[in-house]
Symmetry: D2
Subunit: 334 residues, 4 copies
């Protein structure tokens, strides 16, 4: 860590700071310049509060030379993590597609969608049995049966299932769920992350709307720090000024994350764009830029069927997309 | 609610949609144009899923004419809500200042800071006994004694106290706490909001980094929908591309919120800017633009004292600021 | 266009507004609701000042039903525009790659790079002979010879050349340049756009850092309104809070633009990410999601050669990328 | 400047880089660490291309220790710049208000508004005689008479006038204009800035929608580098995800700019918020946080008068605001 001191710092202030830093177990190398003095801090700086340091009046700026995340860092763990769940593998060169409806609406719906996405080549089934909604008055699609139907669909198809956890108190309900999803709104719910870090349940961690790449990795670090290394990261769009799409899918995050971490990285084009007509293009782009998989909404409900088109893909659209994704994967790997 | 249909919609598709909408209990007024058909939806549209509607292939766009939030809406409750806590009032023309250290570090520290901020005119005392940190390896300032010391400081000074709740399971620990703070990272933790909505504990709800004004109001609606109307909103900066300040304090949100809702609105310039030297200017600006109060970090710890300056204000800086804030309040009210 | 009036509007105010709108040549359809009155405006609303309308005290909101852009709109011109320049075509199913150095540094450099990118399959050569820099003290790479060397390279290779125009007064200097680039910082320099609209020079219009998709299309509309339909759009990243990449490449803009407009859309992964190691991934993603081409920095200068790696690709890296892009294009088209 | 090299850099690569840096006239101090090598660069680093340096494969990161701007920097010019124009002063403790209509519509309008804002205490008159519009089809309020009427209003009231320059070729038309405004869209039009830097015309430089504080200062540096120190900076909102206001007014930029530069800083709450009802609150906030002045839209046209309210303030609203601003100024200065 490098700390640049202002030229206005007195010798006494500087010595106070240096002795405080040494008290934190660090070695301090001082380089004096005409305008600035630079302190090079060597040792375990992981527990140093950068914000506190930056806030000191004599400090011009602080710069971490090494990343604050350790266990998720590819530098220290160069090999890809492969998260194995049921018969499916995520990471390490395979390509995993998680598909399913926005919300589980009925036994018939989830059964039909599950069979269809399995046929098309999906590796996992998703279903939002507990999805929180922005308004307390929005249709609340939280029926206890949702989970039950999902488990039936799992049994029928053999597909492992992914379900979002809205609150740690519901964790036990998800005993038979294969992957627990931490939603964007909970990406920095550190209590939840800490608790999940002490389980061995595979976790799908979605990037928050205002979450930087660094924030996402620090959140994953919470899970790994607790001992749970079965973590899949998911890019699903960030909040920007552009309004044609619901969020702005940050695909550059895929190669950046693949460099910085050994964890698998998947992309959700459905939530990122909010428009079914953009899902195929962005799914193909995600496959082309090195993602380890996709998460895609597929539906089968009457309203959509009648009106022919929706935010989610229909099973035939999904099957066609899977075929195109396969070709793109082959093209980039050959 | 207005729904614009594409000219490509067939009569059959249109009739399907209209009959579905009528099935939801709405009256549908159809205005046919050359290029578009407009459906005016009358009735209780609060439970209509706008995203679903927008996602239909025949729908060009959907526009809510009335706001989706009801109970927080000033239109239906024109009078200011006043949150009364201990001897302090927030909202309704009074001006409340919540002050205290970044984290409770020792009995001596919190006792000294509490006495100082009370003398300077603060109405409430804050202290982060449970503050979550971005890194699992950052200094974790979570000591059980933190809360105990805060309660002692409350008793000694008579100041009501504000403490952040990181997880609903800790709620019972906060029985003697006067105001429970919901942090930015939990602004859309709907499970927590729903649970807090069923208590009568005063809540300080902080805007999330990617939270729009509408999102903040919908989160407050969760609390009021449950029956808890003791809610204080707090603007504390949003995430933008500007990096000179930690976040970008959105002061325009203050007059906007004061128009849209009857709930009190306070401003936290300490977290928004991340720099003590900017806190006074932004506190004065907040007072000038109609905020109902401020939330300010005040510290008293040795490192800062030695180095003369920090992210937090010192007690003398805080006392001086309070005097200036008072003058600005008088100026805007006269 | 739909205008929603507040319920507080008096009949007199409403009538004033309606008669003003009719005076603008519009038909006004009034639908009265309990809470709101909706005015449907039919006719040529293109010249109505939406901001002015929205600013009226009796107006709740204004919504354009049809897009404000006409000549760039695919609705009215469904066929792809193909910009033909020299032997190269951009748009209409072909895939054009524009490559070249960040700045023309010497005759040797540009000659060598031009030959190399041609061999690898580039269709056009770029070179920043006039690139403006953020600091007045930055190395100013503006040598009159830059353009001369580029023209020599054009002659030697047959590649048409793309050069940025920083100021309309330099336009005549670019007589032999094949495509004039309007940089991000000039995307909304309407005087320049208006002037270029009256020429028949092919234009490469780059999206601004804060430019929405709508803004970009309105800027293109300036060019087409003047009569110049030889316009290529370029996505090159927008400004967001994420700092790992220089900007955030908004690839969703590609399929969105392809739907909204008939103009060709290319992607510049070099400037968007600012990092050579991310360029291949994002170039492949751009090819996969339907872009009509790419714009890529390729260099050949001693410093980079010595240090082995840079923001730009080396000629061998570029050649390898071209091969992979070709395979992805085949995969998505088959 | 500090350059951190990766541990993977070979000795040869490092020596190449160091000798290149020394060739640029810099002294290089090398500090070797276990994981990283740090190069401290001393000398005139203003002409070093940071992006180029960062792009080298062996470079981990580059950090400027000193700001890249010199002439606008308060460190080197601690005293406030006062821009004197006609009888008005901007900066140095005075408070200047620039007021006037959105666009000059008629002789009667501008004459009436000019008289009214003068009476209320405005120091300068603004009028958009050349304002560029987002759409080529929007009402183009560019009449040659606009400027003429403004000059008449100047003569009648004695108020100096501020007019936006859309293109350098129009500069001579503005010979009698007192302050030339560079709009947000031209903030990084370096050709225009460079040309204006060689005049002695006072310049009002508005922050761009994606312009960081650093960008704004670098643009001002262009003006001062050319010799023109009569520069007024204007904060007018940045582009964020929030849509209740047209832009997000970044008032923290005011105290930040006042620290970093000696140039006067004013605030435009009219364009930032886009809503007249928010202008008073934000004007008061700007006065409270240390701005050197305001820029406010005041109108007097029939449509607005009829409909009672608009984006601009009416003369009586403006007069009332001026009185409140005066009281806030007194409060913060006493």
């Amino acid at each position: 860590m490098i700390t640049v001191l202002k030229s206005s710092a007195t010798k006494e202030q500087r010595d106070h700071l240096i002795s405080w830093l040494e008290g934190q177990g660090l070695q301090v190398h001082v380089s004096e310049g005409k305008e600035y003095t630079i302190l090079g801090l060597v040792g375990d700086t992981g527990h140093i509060d950068v914000e506190l340091l930056e806030s000191l009046a004599i400090v011009e700026s602080v710069k971490r030379v090494s990343e604050p995340f350790k266990k998720v860092n590819r530098k220290f763990h160069p090999l890809d993590t492969v998260v194995t769940v049921g018969g499916a593998s995520v990471g390490g060169g395979s390509f995993a597609v998680i598909a399913g409806p926005r919300a589980v609406e009925s036994r018939e719906q989830i059964t039909a969608v599950a069979a269809a996405v399995k046929d098309a080549g999906a590796s996992l089934l998703r279903g939002s049995a507990f999805r929180p909604r922005t308004s307390p008055y929005d249709l609340q699609v939280i029926h206890a049966e949702g989970l039950e139907y999902l488990l039936e669909a799992k049994k029928a198809t053999g597909l492992p299932i992914v379900v979002e956890l809205a609150d740690m108190k519901d964790f036990d309900l998800l005993a038979e769920v294969d992957v627990v999803q931490v939603g964007s709104r909970n990406m920095q719910n550190y209590e939840m992350l800490r608790a999940l870090g002490h389980t061995d349940k595979p976790i799908l961690l979605r990037r928050g709307l205002a979450g930087s790449i660094n924030d996402l990795l620090m959140s994953a670090e919470y899970l790994l720090a607790g001992g749970n290394a079965n973590v899949i990261l998911c890019e699903r769009g960030i909040r920007t000024f552009e309004t044609y799409t619901k969020n702005t899918l940050d695909l550059s995050a895929v190669p950046v994350l693949k460099q910085l971490t050994h964890l698998p990285v998947i992309v959700d084009p459905s939530h990122a764009t909010g428009r079914a007509d953009l899902v195929p293009s962005m799914a193909l782009a995600a496959a082309a830029c090195g993602a380890d998989g996709l998460m895609i909404e597929v539906h089968n409900d009457p309203l959509h069927a009648q009106c022919d088109g929706a935010q989610s893909l229909t099973p035939p659209q999904f099957a066609q997309l899977m075929e195109r994704v396969r070709r793109v994967r082959e093209a980039v790997q050959s």
